[in-house]
């Protein structure tokens, strides 16, 4: 198994990610009005986006900032890439949407949940991951986006056959 990259490169990735998103954000401000909350119908376009930054933009139309108020719980090594138990909870209030992005999947956006008021801001679900990947959970609270990220190692099992 290739040795995994140390912590500093993931920070570098994050910075690059954030930088490119910011640029994109600036780039299309004039013509695409940023939609405030996740709209109420099935976000078809967001699910089609390949990479994470485009998916976030298509779903929320704005960028997220990492926040330690978003608690993302995922295994360090997935027992199986087909069934990875993942959950997120947050102490932020006025949460209207929670979404999960699996960077290395064919389409980054995995699942998005609309949280009406009166519903607790926490979700547990089981997602598929194609390979070792960065997993990002995004919480939309009071119109702003907060994120948490974790790396999940994924590989096949058994001795090969």
């Amino acid at each position: 198994m290739t040795t995994t990259t140390g912590p500093h490169p993931t920070r570098r990735l994050l910075l690059q990610g954030a930088a490119s998103v910011a640029l994109l954000g600036l780039g299309n401000l004039p013509f695409a009005p940023a939609r405030a909350a996740a709209n109420d119908k099935y976000p078809e376009d967001a699910f089609k986006q390949k990479n994470e930054a485009d998916a976030i933009k298509a779903l929320y139309g704005k960028t997220a900032e990492p926040s330690d108020k978003v608690k993302l719980d995922a295994p360090e090594i997935a027992e199986n890439g087909g069934v990875v138990p993942i959950s997120v909870t947050t102490t932020l209030d006025k949460v209207t949407s929670i979404s999960f992005f699996v960077a290395e999947n064919p389409n980054a956006l995995a699942a998005s949940y609309r949280i009406p008021d009166g519903t607790m801001p926490s979700v547990a679900n089981r997602l598929k991951m194609a390979k070792t990947t960065k997993l990002t959970a995004i919480v939309e609270a009071d119109g702003k986006l907060y994120s948490a990220t974790k790396e999940v190692k994924v590989t096949v099992g058994g001795c090969g056959g």
Binding site: F47, L109, P116, N125
Partner: protein, 103 residues
């Protein structure tokens, strides 16, 4: 035919915890079958939970949700004995619905 949705909704105090397991292949469209042909995408896109006439939770799912999908959440404002309506539709237009009593 038994419903494809298994729901457990338990209320303690004002908070109701809901767990759902749904029988569905959730084919992503990226997987090949034994003969090497792509299995077409067939996955639940929207899963809705309603209680006392109000949506309490709506899931928009893509191709990365596991087979026989599971979800857990909790919400306030319901009491023991209330009905929780659960319904899903998939990308082929199929759907299923069930109603569970909050215990």
């Amino acid at each position: 035919m038994a419903s494809s949705i298994r729901v457990r909704a338990t209320a303690n105090g004002d908070t109701t915890e809901v767990q759902a397991l749904i029988q569905h292949p959730m084919d992503s469209g990226f997987v090949k079958d034994s003969k090497g042909e792509l299995i077409p995408a067939h996955f639940i896109q929207e899963l809705k939970f309603e209680c006392n006439g109000k949506d309490v939770f709506i899931a928009d799912w893509g191709t990365a949700v596991s087979k026989d999908p599971y979800v857990k959440f909790s919400f306030k404002g319901a009491r023991k004995g209330d009905d929780l309506k659960v319904s899903w539709t998939d990308n082929k237009g199929a759907s299923d619905t069930t109603t569970a009593k909050i215990s």
